[in-house]
């Protein structure tokens, strides 16, 4: 009991932060729905769930997320193999580039896909614009990297000998894959798939920009209900459904999560040379890479077009305010704001994430303590499952009184972004910390080291690389964050995604071109950060 009390005490600070910045705002918005005018009316919320439209929206969310996940896994597996097991030239750079879509702002991806699939775009003849296929393509575009990352890391750590033994006994490569390799990778695949499903099911910007108005998911429906229809009761009902589903998914993925065994890391097989039998995997990987590169290339090409000819004018214009005074501050200033905001979001996410990771990965004595730790673990993943709209409005109505009057604070945006990045940080650090043999800490303690000293000498050396990697991830995620930021950013200090959105929405010949150019700048900044992260070669990055 005393250990559990100590555990809760250690968890008090991060829990309090999350309670104020997450539970309170979301609770405030839900209360608006459940108790309009202060009178509790849960029946009304249940009525909402019986509406045929709500059922249709829920079904659409489920099947697009399911199909998106399946596609991402199918395309991600060959790429994971090729990029993590074969000695392909340039594989480090490709791996870094693969992560760019994952952290690219949805606004930018929406623009890119519209350029590509629009009636006049290079793939316009397919007639995919505004169809569920376009939404699926967008979801897969975002999430292939998650599969490649998580499965690739596991594949890299996989002992090659059982497979070799099977081959020596006469198994065909396909038999080896189906009977030895895939079963061994199953935890990693299922873990990655459940994360991708979660990302797909809660995708907002991409569904809104690519799905147009005909298709709605739970997330876009909450937005519509809150802002256009002002039906807070229905929005609360959908939020609750979403929370329940996400908590369920988190529970499932926690059970299936793949933790690399640090003791086995030394046994990692070196990448082997490419053989003729690898051509299917290579071809599929090439196909995936081309499919991922197409929208980005369209975007880059578009950014260099002015009045039908090639030009860098769009980039030159980034220093100005756009046509017809579209912007209050030039894009260059916004980039500076973005970078400063990202620095703050990063340290906040790291501080919280490190504390949370330490708490959830310490060895548990007894089932009660283990349960407390896993509940805490799930608690900090919750921001993944709540719509930015709900959170944003919640901030406005709950954090408006002293001592918690944060509505005017310049740190509000970084705080919100840190919440978004937190799960990413925890999922990068926790597997590494969990892999440290507790006996090392015990040995340090028995040699007279204080708990802090043990932390510094045992945990920190193991975790510093993942810590840097996590900061890269948090930084990039903050650079690209749009949902919560657009809601909370102050007018005179917008970030780049907010500026891009503003440029797209303002008439003026230059504005659209500038939006494309700004998107390319943002994507480049993200790619550079990811490349630096890739240099650190942390296997568990993004392994949910």
């Amino acid at each position: 009991m005393r250990r559990i009390a100590g555990l809760l005490l250690a968890a008090a600070v991060p829990v309090a932060v999350l309670a104020v910045l997450f539970v309170l705002p979301v609770g405030g918005m839900l209360a608006q729905g459940f108790a309009p005018q202060g009178r509790l009316d849960p029946g009304g919320v249940l009525d909402v769930l019986a509406r045929p439209r709500v059922r249709r929206v829920a079904w659409f969310t489920l099947w697009t997320a399911g199909a998106g996940t399946a596609l991402a896994v199918l395309l991600g597996l060959p790429a994971a193999f090729v990029l993590h097991r074969l000695a392909v030239p340039g594989r480090h750079a490709i791996r870094a580039a693969l992560l760019v879509p994952f952290v690219l702002p949805t606004v930018v991806v929406g623009v890119a896909f519209r350029q590509l699939l629009g009636e006049g775009g290079p793939l316009g003849f397919l007639g995919l614009e505004g169809t569920p296929v376009a939404i699926l393509a967008g979801l897969v575009f975002f999430n292939v990297a998650v599969v490649v990352r998580a499965v690739g890391a596991a594949w890299e750590a996989l002992d090659p000998r059982p497979g070799e033994a099977a081959a020596a006994l006469g198994a065909s490569p396909l038999q080896v894959l189906l009977t030895v390799t895939l079963p061994a990778l199953r935890p990693a695949i299922v873990g990655a798939a459940s994360s991708v499903f979660l990302f797909c099911a809660t995708a907002f910007g991409i569904v809104l920009t690519l799905g147009g108005v005909r298709y709605a998911t739970v997330e876009t429906e909450i937005y519509l209900l809150t802002t256009t229809l002002f039906d807070l009761r229905a929005a609360a009902a959908l939020s609750i459904v979403q929370l329940i589903v996400v908590v369920g998914l988190l529970a499932v993925s926690a059970r299936l999560r793949f933790t690399p065994d640090p003791g086995r890391r030394s046994a990692t097989a070196a990448p082997r040379a490419v053989r003729r039998s690898d051509w299917t995997a290579l071809a599929l990987t090439l196909l995936t890479l081309v499919a991922l590169a197409l929208p980005i290339l369209t975007l880059v090409a578009g950014s260099f077009r002015v009045d039908g000819s090639w030009s860098v004018d769009n980039y030159v214009a980034l220093g100005g305010a756009g046509d017809n005074g579209a912007l209050l501050v030039p894009v260059t200033t916004a980039l500076l704001t973005s970078l400063r905001t990202a620095v703050d979001a990063t340290w906040m996410a790291l501080a919280m994430g490190l504390a949370v990771s330490l708490i959830v990965t310490r060895r548990s004595h007894g089932p009660a303590e283990r349960r407390v730790r896993s509940v805490l673990d799930g608690f900090f993943m919750l921001p993944l499952g709540v719509s930015a709209v709900t959170l944003g409005f919640g901030f406005l109505i709950t954090l408006d009184q002293p001592p918690l009057d944060l509505r005017d604070s310049p740190l509000l945006v970084p705080m919100a972004q840190a919440l978004v990045a937190l799960p990413l940080v925890v999922r990068t650090l926790a597997p590494v910390l969990a892999g440290i043999d507790d006996r090392q800490r015990q040995a340090a303690a028995s040699l007279g080291a204080s708990p802090w000293r043990a932390l510094l000498t045992v945990d920190l050396p193991a975790v510093w690389k993942p810590l840097l990697a996590a900061s890269g991830f948090a930084f990039a995620a903050s650079l690209g964050e749009f949902g919560a930021t657009s809601f909370l950013a102050r007018d005179e200090a917008p970030t780049v995604p907010v500026v891009i959105f503003r440029l797209i929405g303002h008439p003026g010949e230059m504005n659209y071109g500038m939006a494309l150019a700004a998107s390319v700048v943002l994507a480049t900044a993200t790619a550079v950060v990811m490349l630096l992260v890739e240099r650190l070669r942390v296997p568990s990055v993004g392994a949910f």
Binding site: R114, G212, T227, P461
Partner: protein, 360 residues
Amino acid sequence: MNHARLRAVLTATTLTLAVTGCSLVGTENEQRPPAGEPSSQEPARGSGEVVVVSHESFTLPKKLTKAFERETGYTIKVRAAGDAGTLATKLSLTAGNPIGDVAFGIDNTFASRPLDAGAFAEFEPSFPGPEEYQLDEGSDRLTAIDHGSVCVNADIDWFKAEGKQPPAELSDLADPAYRGLFVTPGASTSSPGMAFFLATVAEFGDDWPAFWEDLLANDAKIVDGWEDAYYGDFTAGSDTGKRPLVVSYDSSPAFTVEGDRSTTGTVFDTCFRQVEYAGVLEGADNPEGAEAFIEWLLTDEVQSQIPELMYMFPVSPSADVPEDWAKYALPAKDPYEVSPEEIASQREQWLTEWTDLISR
């Protein structure tokens, strides 16, 4: 890496970040100077900050804000609150403890939401604009600042090249002669889209679903936002657009001028009027400043700049509009109207029905 070095690196990084100002920590927390007494030398002047809450398409150039600050003694801070619907929701949810002093950009399609929530305080400006722009209910709280009509725009050059006549009224859009030529932003996701939808409601009454079915059968395209429609699909708005008919504003032709003519034109019998209002927020910290701001918005100095800032027409009849506007942006004379009360009570049902209809 040994620990001493590691610690040194961590400390150095932290210090660098803090010292070089690569962080927002230590940035001025917006301390609002109290709205003080008018100073004794210039009795009419106020002081303190006026926080203007608006939607994301509102911009005030530095030159104008400086002028306001010089004339009145107040300083201005603009806070964008998302699109028109988000703005209305924000104001309604924060009624009584507002996020600013004055709101600008609530239009007639959303006005009743914050009015019902009690978000606005009473205020009568000294020179309100013409009667026709005022609300029937709530004119004691909301002041009309600008107006503009959402109309179908036609690419005149395209129609000339094809030897066709542009459509003349709403029902033409469902005519097979215009099959596949029309694009509109959605009513549920865009405020011009909503305005166009309301025009069809005003024209066809309860039969609007039949008209929309005909529209869809005639291969009309429905996209997310105005910008997607105009810059993505409109032939005169983008190199790759394929559709010469788009839902836009009656002011849009002023933005497609080539030489001495505009390449696009407004189909005047398809218009729905949007009026944008400003109001003092209930519970504002600086109500005097808020009132001064609204009075200032109504001066000809600001009114004559409204076309370029907001793509809307000023309410003041004495304001000058830019030359291009006077020539090419002709305000719709007899736009469709639906009362804010009817919009407020029917919006949800209409939109639900509309969304169901178009997602079939």
